[in-house]
Amino acid sequence: MPVIQYREALRQAMDEEMARDETVFLMGEEVAQYNGAYKVSKGLLDKFGDRRVIDTPITELGFTGIGTGAAMAGLRPIVEWMTLNFAILALDQVINNAAKMLYMSGGKLNIPIVFRGPNGPAEYLASQHSQALQTMLVHVPGIKVVAPATPYDAKGLLKSAIRDNNPVVVLEAEMMYAWTGEVPSEEFLVPIGEADIKREGTDVSIITYSKPLKMAMEAAEQLAQQNISAEIVDLRSLRPLDEKTIFESVRKTNRAVIVDESWPMVSVASHVGYLISSQCFDYLDAPVELVTSEDVPMPYNHSLELAAQPSVDKIIKAVKKVLYID
């Protein structure tokens, strides 16, 4: 099977869907002539032209709303946010229009739109450029939110998102764009709303999504050497959430650690932690542990910024804690 980069997987998804459906177009800052700030849209302008691959001014609120209006009128926009940090400016259009239009119109006006871009910290980018903002979106009914962590899931989920008739937010990450993985050359989709067991295990469930998946896999490796068998549940879809798969895993392992790179308070991590605690109440042998970023803005200094985020060691420590080991 071809091994490609995460960014290439996203590019293929857009390329295939734009070829398949003429109403699909891409708009955002630097997506066309510059081939994308992170080169995700490389070559799309050349292939599809400037009618369908459109550079916007730096106006996140405006072009997010324009995309929403275009979707309302029948097109299927892919709106690229250069990073989620900048999309805070656009939240009004996502929350008050895209997410509510179908409901407010009594079912008349659905919004088939994809909002996508890198989320979460990269390196040396300091407070304003290093935020993992899924909480702001997952909280809101009327949209779907996915966060693929492998090239395979990235391509399959983005294709599903583009074909979905609802607003779908696809959370990527600067640091993941260069990650590589096997992606079949034949067409495939990954359905939205299904978690994926990335590693089978029996002693503890490590539940995670997006960039921290890699750390979780690494931690599981090291734990295996200590004869601790960790199962890794990759949520992939945050809204809707695949509670069934989560609960099945925890009811099997009786222990759960949740790894999430966003801030701890009112996070996807604590929400899933609550769901497990209440739905697997009689199965849990230990309190659910969370490994999140520290409850601070991101500092620029590299050792500090690394200390602010989840790490393999923190995950291993949390696993040992739920296993009551040393």
Binding site: P57, I66, G69, A73, Q93, N97, L102, M104, S105, K108
Partner: protein, 327 residues
């Protein structure tokens, strides 16, 4: 005043339609106020009385098979002018299943896909990018339509306005931005929060045509909007228009409007859009007092019927609470 305005260039049937549409809106809004008083309608209810010429005159310039209308929360008139039935609008104000938004939208969220009336929006300025996106779709599909985007003198200061007009221009989108300057944003006289008195100057920041016009004479509105939409279709450019008007009632049903003088209100009532057209038509022997009374009676009846319709309609079922979240 004294001199008679020549209406010979207009078709009588058309003039009757403009007059009827304005009277219907006036009577419908009066009914809404009455029903609000009886607590059949709740929440925010923003009436359009006094501004009828703006929605009626500008929407009359459209072909709603290709053109679109989007506005803010003061949207009853635009919905009616687009051809929504008073029944479906009143039922929506009552929150009934037969409402144009199935009782889920209410006064601020009237929609009708058949009539290209795409809302209705409660966030001041929030629909300006959305309307621009509808114009984007027209350009993308190389269609011949135009979008009318209505917003108020308060909304124009929102960043969404600035962002949208720039993109509309660089992409040559067919949209006419209409600032309905009714002098007040809630309790704030527009000059208190605006660095300019004449909003049409703002058009030059986006190199698009801009014009300020009188919004009390429905024919002026019709002529100017017709000319501007014509220009938009021919020159593939967005445009901006400030239409000067006035609202007789408070901002919403809960606003006593103490911030303006009785004299100011009375002065504007002398420019009543319905009276202006009515008198012009009578002067041109296109209408008689009796004919006008007929029209008025008819509109009152339609408004009364809409209330009956709303009252006799069902509440949406509890199950619909969970519908329309996602398709």
């Amino acid at each position: 005043m004294g001199t008679t305005k020549d209406l010979s260039k207009y078709d009588k049937v058309f003039l009757i339609k403009l007059l009827t549409d304005m009277v219907l809106i006036r009577r419908f809004e009066e009914k809404s106020a009455q029903m609000y008083g009886l607590q059949k309608i709740g929440g925010f209810c923003h009436l359009y009385i006094g501004q009828e010429a703006v929605a009626v005159g500008s929407i009359a310039a459209l072909d709603l098979s290709t053109d679109y209308v989007l506005t803010g929360y003061r949207d009853h008139a635009h919905a009616l002018a687009c051809g929504l039935s008073p029944d479906s609008v009143m039922a929506e104000l009552f929150g009934k299943e037969t409402g144009c938004s199935r009782g889920k939208g209410g006064s601020m969220h009237l929609f009708d896909v058949e009539h290209n009336m795409l809302g209705g929006n409660g966030i001041v300025g929030g629909h300006i990018p959305v309307a621009t996106g509808v114009a984007f779709k027209i350009a993308y599909n190389k269609e011949n339509g135009v979008v009318l985007c209505f917003f108020g003198d308060g909304a124009i200061h929102q960043g969404a306005f600035h962002e949208s007009l720039n993109m509309a221009k660089i992409w040559n989108l067919p949209i006419l931005y209409i600032c309905e300057n009714n002098q007040y944003g809630m309790g704030t006289m527009f000059k208190r929060v605006s660095s300019v008195d004449d909003f049409s100057v703002m058009a030059s920041s986006y190199s698009m045509p801009g014009k300020q016009i009188d919004g009390m004479d429905v024919l002026t509105v019709y002529d100017e909007v017709s000319a501007m939409t014509e220009h938009i279709r021919n020159h593939k450019t967005p445009a901006f228009m400030e239409i000067k008007t006035y609202r007789y009632k408070g901002h919403s049903m809960s606003d006593p409007a103490k911030y303006r003088t009785k004299d100011e209100l009375e002065a504007y009532k002398k420019l009543d859009p319905i009276v202006i057209l009515k008198n012009d038509m009578i002067d041109n022997n296109l209408l008689t007092e009796d004919e006008f009374k007929e029209i008025d009676k008819d509109c009152k009846a339609k408004s009364a019927e809409s209330v009956k319709f709303a009252e006799n309609s069902n509440e949406p079922p509890l199950s619909s609470l969970y519908e329309d979240v996602l398709v």
